[in-house]
Assembly symmetry: D2
Homo-oligomer: 308 residues x 4
């Protein structure tokens, strides 16, 4: 099958403040489809180019932020293997039964890593009712709308002890680390981690408070779509953080903005095609501003200060 | 490491008629760098965004076409595993010693599959003298030139018995098959095969004559680069086959043209992000024209008739 | 005001066969807005980025083709001046009263030139109900849809005696001729003509039958939009003529396709910024295929044979 | 000829501090060609897509900034007409003889307007030795390099009394004003002015100090070229001011950066197609930040403070 272990981040559940207003942003500006609602009022969404049942869940709460992210793994055997390796690594694993809380999803395992984030894994999920064409397929069923987000792409998590988290992703999730940033005394400040050819499936930044989310990202196909996303941010009076710009790190082009509940969204495009045999790219901490915001070459305060 | 078995097609050796004229095309129009020459006069080339020693070799011969293609595999153990599985599959394997014929490359194994094509595998190759920046890395050392080809991307091979070849790629190379085309009686007419997130690392079309190459492809970053490549084809009076257009199959945008020796080159861009758990896309033979040349919807005769 | 005489082609009335099906194409695929209908059943349309009342009119008829094209001129005085110069040039001019047949339009003058085409001129037209934002303006009111046609751009007319037609456009409409194609004996085969910085407002090709339209064109903003237009042609099973490609003539990128009634539409993008002091570009007839279809370098038969 | 009076801004002479370093930027990063040098050491440059002898002149001086900008007018008669109208308007006009100081240029008239800027006009200039192809023309002679600047596009001038300057451009240069920004008490704060379809040939911002230049702009063909320009700014460690972003005003996409001598360059792309009959777009002063920097919606201090 070409891949082992984790395939991709496939599900994110977010806490939002004003469900209607935030949902309107995801549906009508970002361009996601509403798939359904749960009995407890959560809204299930997906991107037009995703096959699985849903990928984004909005839960009304008093504080914005991340409930958890879940990774799809290769198959049922891999699921059990990773569960066992996770327990051996030292994290307590909880089983979530099929269709329990996430309609369409099979059994999931949940655990909290040292950075304070809950991760989940699953191998089985129903196909969405409306997935990309597969029989003499057109390139889409309907012209993508809004920002034309194609898929959930990656996450950036802030928390303490990312050395351990990075080791966990390598040893247990069988991922690799195409790019890192180190402090002058050689400690890890940030790591970009992937299980595939994508430049990153997730990233960590060392941060004293546990369980924080810097952003999560949707993938856009082209730099023209990045411009279109920025136009929609302006027209809809969303709050821009930064962009359009390029990350030297991963080489992707990007915009960061805040959806109405204050969760930071990235609309990310491009990025190099990563391979585990390529040399690791290494950044010095004093160059991190340039690594993140290549054109100005300077760190922006909001990058380090504003998280949910 | 996220990947098992084959990482990617990493090397192609081509037969060319007029070495100087053809080399000029690869260097000054396609935009490759000359890495060196062998004692027997072959020219070693690479794309600006590749790390390994070289990826394209031109050998002067009386007939254009493909000598062989070689796949990089994950590591030395994988190399031996695939070698053993290849022999068990029934193909005779020959060992090629390190630096023997391909400077910078470690031990390779060569074998010929049912379609008449020689494939090779290797796990070890030196880094190129000039590879992409990795220390506080800029996005490139020098502004890419010509068609701005970023890497060797994939091959399309014509030959008999592609059912077996497809099975070989799955069982021995641990690849998967995102897209296929079948005849009305259910036989395989074509298969697009990958070991990673790329929509295809190689493809086969059923064809009575063995060992033929339809094209090999370089990857371009953007649809704007596809336009630029077409402009360079026009200005340099190269012979266009078709494009710019889109393949519905893989969804990539594309141009086919012939370099001066008559080998068909594709400049390919985009393509969906493939995953082994996504449903396979299936084409009927009578829709293959639309699958290949989405905008006109019609097969062009040269696609089926002209190979080297 | 910077411009004299003619500002731009501002109105085209087309004959269509199946009004509903053709209207659906213009509205939902090309992306025009329906502005209204006349008492005799004609449909008035406009592009999202146009200010004037309407620019495209569909009239149900038994044969597809062009009723007339109309140019907006600088002001009322210019209108009378051009009318007088037209009569002096030798063409009989008819006055069409305000709001007579074209709602929102002021007085028009109509006349038929040597090539058999009816042209009209007007200086006064109401603003559309929905025109681009002008007060602290956003870049659009609503995200453009379908092919995202921004405006009516130009026409290509086939007919006899284009030497005279070219002279008329220069002497009476005060236009200039950035690019021409001549036969080996120095006769005009084609001329591209403009009154502004646009590479062409209209063009003529010498042709024995009078009054024929080769195509009319909508302007697209980007090469990415050209790809999007081609995708929509494929998905909606419209009949492609050629493209995406580039015209060396005018340098624009382009697609030709036929709407359901058989009128050929061009979705045109780019083109150089023309100035009357730049040297005229000149094509030899035997290079016209390359001038029109730069990438293949070859004339396609439909270009010379299929007109409405 | 379609145009009256002024055709375009065709020449700018800049003061630079370090001639070699600054010249290197214009040639090897922006992508201009060096046309020649004058006996007093000034360097003459042009963009690859310009026909006239040269368009940018660098003069070594102790302070960066603008010597003057010159507009090409339609013909010799127009030149004398505008000269006479300028004198009647109240500005003293000086005649500069042909080839005097600007090789290849015919007679120029120079005068200083109320804002303290020297403007010049001319109707006659030699063609460059290397101008765009015109006989069965390819789209360029050589693949554009660096930022791929196609032409000198426009200027933004800061000075006092822009009401009068705007009136001068309309009455004497026969230009029109597609877009303005007014203070709450109805005074002009800024005006964007053009003599053609370009969204602006020049602009003024009201400012207490006379004769200041905010920036001058080169035109880029695509948003992809804007990204490329930003990449080159980063790689060459030039100082970015802002961008890539969009101006809501003119709708162009843009980057501002400083060349090594401290003159601000804009690499500008797009912009609407302006016509004198379209309604004027009007901005309130408190929305100017949004008008200039559409995505953040906020004024940046350097826009109002840093001029040369």
């Amino acid at each position: 099958m070409g891949f082992t272990a984790t395939l991709r981040p496939g599900l994110i559940q977010l806490r939002v403040l004003d469900l209607d207003k935030t949902l309107d942003c995801y549906k009508n500006i970002v361009g996601l489809d509403e798939v359904g609602r749960t009995s407890d009022g959560r809204v299930l969404l997906k991107c037009y180019d995703e096959f699985d049942h849903h990928s984004v869940v909005l839960r009304k709460a008093s504080e914005a932020g991340l409930d958890y992210v879940a990774f799809k793994v290769a198959d049922a055997k891999t699921l059990e293997d990773i569960k066992a390796k996770t327990e051996k690594f030292g994290y307590k694993v909880t089983e979530l039964k099929a269709n329990d809380e996430q309609p369409g999803f099979g059994k999931r395992y949940a655990f909290t890593i040292c950075t304070g984030h809950q991760l989940q894994i699953y191998s089985d999920v129903e196909l969405a009712k409306k997935f990309p064409p597969i029989k003499n397929p057109d390139i889409w069923h309907e012209q993508p709308r809004g920002m034309r987000a194609t898929r959930l792409d990656h996450f950036l998590l802030y928390g303490p002890g990312i050395d351990e988290a990075e080791r966990f992703m390598k040893e247990v999730f069988d991922m690799y680390v195409p790019e890192v940033c180190n402090t002058p005394d050689g400690k890890r400040l940030a790591a970009w981690i992937t299980g595939s050819n994508k430049a990153h499936d997730l990233a960590f930044v060392e941060y004293p408070k546990p369980g924080k989310m810097h952003h999560f990202a949707f993938f856009l196909e082209t730099w023209q779509d990045v411009l279109n996303a920025a136009d929609l941010i302006a027209i809809n009076h969303l709050k821009l953080d930064i962009g359009p710009t390029r990350h030297a790190i991963t080489r992707g082009t990007t915009i960061y903005f805040w959806e109405p509940s204050g969760n930071r969204i990235e609309t990310y495009c491009g990025g190099y095609t990563a391979y585990p045999d390529n040399p690791q790219r290494v950044w010095d901490a004093d160059q991190l501003g340039r690594g993140l915001f290549y054109f100005s070459g300077e760190m922006i305060p909001s990058f380090l200060e504003v998280v949910t």
